[in-house]
Symmetry: C2
Subunit: 137 residues, 2 copies
DNA sequence: AAGCAATATGCAACAGTATTGCAATTTAGA
DNA sequence: TCTAAATTGCAATACTGTTGCATATTGCTT
């Protein structure tokens, strides 16, 4: 729904430009994390730099978060449950990457247990990438 | 010790070239994961492509593994305890990245517990990146 | 609805990471 | 010492991402 998109932009004090509306609408419709390259293919009329800046803006506001899945290109997905904002992102992310179709999705509601670190080390955030086969592969 | 280096190359059926000897010796001496760029600075006489290929060869043989820490450049560290080989790497890696000094190190002897995945998903490997402050920062 | 200041966009240029093809060199073994 | 196979260096190229700046658009004010 385009109204979700508009509300998200309004709530975050962002101007409603063509690029932001289209990109955010698209991101909200995706089941999997998407790369800048996919956005470029989806929206050839927007400049690639504008797409980069749009992603960056959304990330700064806590609307989306990035996923580093080791593929070389950063992927992005919409943040859920309002656990992120411009004041900081959720400090715990679990992502699943299928080794066959290479799709990446967020695994929600999973708590990563305490990891014993060497003396003097203090953890601030944790990022877990689980790789395997998804339900379609 | 250079003899550890030579033994590793021999055990993996790799020719003892200048580049491999120097790079592997260097990698064995490092506490933290290193990037290709660091190797380039350390060994300006070897071509950058050769360094890439050397890293790739070591990785294929299970001598080193890569660490994607989100910095843009892949880092590499020597595999411990012989849990890796050319038949496959250890399926569980925990790495710590200091948010201040940006050094990355392997956290050994930590088992990542079972992560509940949605119906139909099967995990093959897990990669956990913990970020925080190290004992020097 | 016209004007204005702040913001966003498009374009060009550039930086860093990584890969490929190919000719020349080096290695390990006969 | 000779040779085949493996390795290296070089050139070219692709991909990801960033920066500066002029132009266009947005949202607000009048």
């Amino acid at each position: 729904m385009i109204s979700d998109t508009i509300r998200l932009l309004n709530d975050n004090g962002l101007r409603k430009t063509d690029c932001r509306l289209d990109v955010l609408d698209f991101l909200l419709s995706q089941e999997h994390a998407v790369t800048h390259g996919q956005l470029e293919a989806e929206f050839p009329d927007f400049d690639r730099v504008t797409l980069y800046r749009t992603l960056s803006t959304f990330e700064d506001k806590g609307i989306i978060h990035d996923v580093k899945d080791g593929s070389g290109a950063t992927k992005y997905a919409v943040c859920k449950h309002g656990s992120c904002s411009e004041h900081g992102h959720d400090d715990e992310h679990v992502h699943f990457k299928c080794i066959k179709c290479e799709q990446v999705s967020c695994v929600d509601n999973v708590h990563i247990p305490h990891i014993p670190l060497p003396e003097g080390f203090r953890a601030k955030s944790k990022n877990l990438l689980v790789e395997g086969l998804c339900n379609n592969c």
